[in-house]
Subunit: 346 residues, 2 copies
DNA sequence: ATAATAGTGTCTCTGAGACAATATACT
DNA sequence: AGTATATTGTCTCAGAGACACTATTAT
């Protein structure tokens, strides 16, 4: 029953509370109850509560096979999506996720989901944002506590979930299409009251070519696959006044993506781009041993711009350490393999 | 009733969904239903849902009166707390906050709460983190979607809430007491499997001296006030392995603060310290016109260290602009007043 | 006059940006 | 041999840190 919890759970809560040293337990409230008595008598109110789900934006770097044996393969920033087998948004693609159970934290729920979908458990993960628009789910009131995970897709065996839906990496492209500014002047016309910056971003998600053996079993129809491009237009409105500033996202168009997941993905990409600049976040996308050029390519696909090699190497030099291994059979000079210098970074 | 919603709400949801261009509505699922039919027949499941509240960490800069007329007043970073008049945590101090209603977003709920408590509506606010430990509230399953707000306390008329509890600014001090590292080696003893960094932080909250006229009406007993110092010891555990890293907070001691609010405040202070370094966030704590020294003091109390004047002025020069006003009767050379250059920062 | 802060000048050092030059395996 | 990438070197310029010096008011 909604809001009802078993006695064991109640007992545990009480212990938790009492274990924290505090003065409250002996105090009596206006009804003359101690905290212990209050909690024993407590009945959760019968008002409406939201469902709370976690949605995960799982990033990885995928690569496309090159025809020229000498050239390096082109890299992409990719996101894992699942095709929905049920209403609402039937046959649309959605982020992996699920409802949070009463005995777990949101992070535990997210890790459980990640494990089910990819088989991975020890990966980098961080909480992104909690989306609470009451109309974001057409069924009922559902909040989404979103997470971002960074993984190396080579470690993954993709598994279609119980609901027999497809799972697929989608190459993500997120770019600014246009922007405009509005200046709202004060009544006397002498100052500025408010500035609004309106930007339109395009989010494109196209299925990655299947090169991984584990994906063959999914038997996706390749001809159909080429036409499948998910597309969303997001309007980002930044409002500034002297006192405050606020950012708001709106979905102007949305083709093939479920719920507000285009918003969540856009938010994740923005966060990733920002954090990559000042942390070693991108290293979580790499295999154990990698070349510096591979790492630079990862940075480049995330930031959407090319970087100068010497500057890049200087910047990340404290984050990596040399191994004694080199690449082989690459059609050009072999390059040294590096690994994460994770021990030092604490 | 739990999970039940009225028809009007159902209608609105349906429209929202349909307004988004998508292919789903015509599709039929395995039961042969279109999305419209599915939603019309949809009954929310009768499983347990969490309550979701917002908690707000409202920061401001308060100042203590100096005896020496020449010296500048000492500044503090302060947080607004409310004394609880009911169980649980009766007579403990808590962050302002409340439950989210089904017709509003978390941010709207937070702004509503801020308005009730301080009378302010247009202030800087950002979502912090969603705390989901199922045992964080001894009553029942309650998640907290936390927000941080930055305000100028001179604009505030503090109002005791309906539950007749006290409202008070608390000077916040948050500092590292000690840290230790543990290295867990691999079985063969040749490498490192895991590094754990354990830090203990002390969070102290002491009531600010009442200097604001609006606070006089609260008639706090000053002798009692001096003894009232809230104190929490937080243990921050950072676990690193080659693949992942995770951060966990634990409350080792907690005197006088309700729930896990010490964790939320600590998280907010850490976020504020980080963001102040690379944004103009601190400007939201200032009055409309301020001296550069005042602004520097705000930075200093947030970061907990002194800054060099010329370097500081260079760094924030793009964020502020001159006015024609000067301070007066200060016992030393008057200083120019500046204001936020908010129009340019977009 | 003096205490205390306001405001500016400048020297040094570091780090990022930009371009150049050399090295090397694989077909 | 030729190609494409690997790797290192260095010049310049901007910005942060550090210290010093001058200016100005109320008591």
């Amino acid at each position: 029953m909604q809001g009802r919890e078993d006695n064991q759970d109640r007992e545990e809560r009480k212990k938790e509370g009492i274990n924290q040293k505090r003065k409250t337990p002996k105090l009596r409230d206006k009804q003359g109850l101690t905290e212990e008595e209050f909690l024993a008598a407590y009945q959760p109110g019968d008002y409406v509560r939201p469902s709370v789900a976690t949605d995960m934006v799982i990033f990885t770097i995928t690569e496309q096979e090159e025809k020229n044996y000498r050239k390096l393969s082109e890299k992409n920033l990719s996101v894992l999506l699942i095709e929905r087998g049920i209403h609402p948004y039937l046959n649309c693609w959605a982020l992996p996720g699920g409802f949070i159970c009463p005995n777990e934290t949101a992070e535990q729920a997210a890790r459980r989901e990640l494990q089910e979908e990819t088989g991975l458990s020890h990966v980098y993960m961080e909480q992104l944002y909690t989306f609470t628009d009451p109309k974001r789910d057409p069924r009922t009131w559902v909040m989404s506590c979103s997470y971002m995970a960074l993984i190396d897709c080579r470690k993954v065996r993709l598994q279609a979930g119980d609901d027999a839906a497809n799972v697929q990496w989608f190459h993500a492209s997120y770019r600014l299409l246009n922007e405009r500014k509005e200046y709202h002047h004060t009544e006397d016309g002498r100052g500025i009251k408010e500035i609004i910056l309106i930007q339109e971003y395009e989010l494109l998600l196209s299925p990655d070519k299947i090169e991984h053996p584990a994906l063959d079993s999914l038997m996706l129809d390749t001809t159909k696959q080429d036409k499948l491009i998910l597309r969303a237009i997001l309007q980002k409105t930044i409002t500034k006044t002297e006192e405050m500033e606020s950012v708001e996202y709106q979905l102007l168009e949305n083709y093939g993506l479920a719920f507000d997941h285009a918003k969540i993905i856009a938010y994740a990409i923005e966060r990733l781009r920002r954090k990559v600049e000042y942390t070693g976040l991108a290293l979580h996308l790499m295999p154990t041993e990698f070349t510096l050029t591979q790492l630079q390519q990862a940075y480049e696909v995330i930031l959407g711009k090319t970087l100068l090699k010497p500057a890049f190497r200087r910047k990340i030099s404290e984050l990596v350490e040399e191994t004694e291994h080199y690449t082989e059979k690459e059609g050009h000079r072999p390059s040294r393999l590096f690994r994460r210098k994770w021990e030092k970074q604490i």
